[in-house]
Amino acid sequence: MKINEPFVEKILTAFIREELSKFNYKKGILGLSGGLDSAVCAFLAAKALKPSNVIGLIIPYGETFSKDVKDAQEFSRLLKIKSRIINISPMVDSYFSSYPIENRVLKGNKMARERMSILYDFSAREKALILGTSNKTELLLGYGTIHGDMACGINPLGDLYKTQIRQLAEYIGIPEKIRKKIPSAGLWVGQTDEDEIGLPYDEIDKILYQLVDKRTSKKDIIASGFKKETVEKIISLIKNSEFKRKLPLIPKISSRSVGHDFLFPFDWDK
């Protein structure tokens, strides 16, 4: 689970630089939440592309997370990247005043998609590729809003578990204030990832690492000391979120079909 930090930093900055240049982008853009993952991604992008080519959009819903907004602003000043605050409460409130609902998950998802919509708009305005900030833990558990925070052009952090990102963050010198924050998807006040998933990241990642990277059987993981219910819960989260990791299914009815046997590389002629 432990990573070689300088090596990983080198790989991820090379990846950002190379993919942007392949697709003729000079600039990268990402949503800055004031949390750890977007801070690490912004740091890597600033290193890969030069700070002046990185745009951090801070996209709060009103004053709900004003402390995080302040942290995100301070951090973008520290990195010397461009940043901008766009408040989504007018759009979100307008929608929910017409279609009111109490469910906070639905509200949070709507906000995540509002942020996505703004990121894509600014991506086009600024000719900047969107850098995703979903980590491997979230991707595997499906702990993210489909077409919301999961939407991006490339995702440099997608093969690092949360605990590995913490390790990298310490090495690259992300301020302690950001590193020590309790991880939260920020869908509502007081929401924390670990409460919602019901397990601490350390434990989740240890189990995921065994299941996914080591291909250890469920039986052997339980035998090594993890609770049966915990392991089963993680497996069921993975199983039920596969749709978030794939393009939508297309019924194959012709002789050659998108998503089935029309097989071309992403980096085609790049």
């Binding site: 090596f7 190379e18 071309f264 590389p265 980096d267 002629d269 790049k270």
Partner: protein
């Protein structure tokens, strides 16, 4: 004029490895890249210049395989590379259309304006992240061929991890074993290199030592569809000693002089080659095969 090997005399050969990142699916652009390295090699009086697996096309081709395929006998790019091989011998990777509609992941050895040998990849990895068996026809042989520098044999990437393939080149009498590769790195817990790099180095050391042959491994770098090719090209001498090593992640032109007389010296001391018994191995293999057919 090319320097010819005289086995009785001290003979130094200049080898260069082009650790490059080809453009996926664009043969024209990659041909230009090859020419650039050929020019560089000519300036340095290189005898043999080696490019990685599928250097003319890129690796993650999928349905592009048929579009980028070349026929060595009729393709103009191939003809130009043959001409270039009058000045410097070349090894490179390409998609070969050998019979109509059959596409191979191939390696060409060109020298003195001619095709010396074409190796077609035998072991096509098809599992997990690899899908070569879906797009390529399988090669059928591991052939040792004669070159201006001595007997040589070629393997492509995964071929090299099957020690039966290495044995066939040893038994066939290869003095120089050339491996061209497009090996993506996996595993980030190691020391400033992907963990999988160790696997290639370990084969390089072992096969060079126990074949008493030079082992030249040319890998590529760069990303394709998120896969990161791990570089780290190397040359081991017939004593199993590392004599040249490229960086793990960056483009590089690795130039190294090798002394072909090392092969003779080490075989005097360690007679693995003299004592090899391919006929015993062959009979034992036949017995094994008969058994599993029963």
């Amino acid at each position: 004029m090319k320097r010819r090997v005289n086995y009785d005399n001290f003979c130094i050969m200049k080898v260069a490895l082009a650790q490059i990142s080809p453009r996926l699916g664009n043969v024209e652009k990659n041909f230009d890249l090859h020419l650039k390295y050929i020019e560089k090699a000519k300036k340095k009086n290189v005898d043999l210049l080696i490019f990685p697996e599928l250097s003319l096309t890129g690796y993650t081709l999928k349905d592009l395989v048929a579009e980028v395929a070349l026929s060595p006998d009729s393709n103009p790019i191939f003809a130009e590379l043959k001409t270039a091989s009058r000045d410097v011998s070349l090894v490179f990777g390409f998609v070969e259309e050998k019979e109509r509609g059959l596409f191979y992941n191939s390696a060409a050895f060109l020298s003195e304006g001619k095709i010396v040998h074409i190796h077609r990849k035998v072991f096509l990895p098809t599992y997990g992240m690899f899908e070569e068996g879906k797009f390529f026809a399988q090669g059928k042989n591991f052939h040792t061929f004669s070159t201006p520098y001595g007997n040589a044999g070629m393997m492509i990437c995964r071929d090299f991890l099957h020690y039966g393939a290495c044995y066939l080149l040893f038994a066939g009498g290869s003095d120089i074993i050339i491996v061209i590769s497009a090996a993506p790195g996996r595993g980030i817990q190691g020391k400033e290199a992907y963990e999988t790099s160790r696997m290639w180095e370990s084969m390089g050391e072992t096969i060079s030592l126990f074949s008493s042959a030079f082992l030249i491994y040319c890998n590529r770098v760069g990303f394709e569809d998120g896969k990161h090719f791990a570089g780290g090209s190397f040359i081991y001498n017939p004593m199993g000693k590392l004599v040249a090593k490229a960086s793990y992640l960056d483009n590089e032109f690795l130039l190294q002089e090798i002394n072909l007389n090392d092969i003779r010296e080490v075989r005097k001391k360690w007679p693995y080659k003299r004592d090899d018994r391919p006929e015993i191995i062959l009979e034992a293999l036949k017995r094994i095969i008969r058994k599993y057919e029963d």
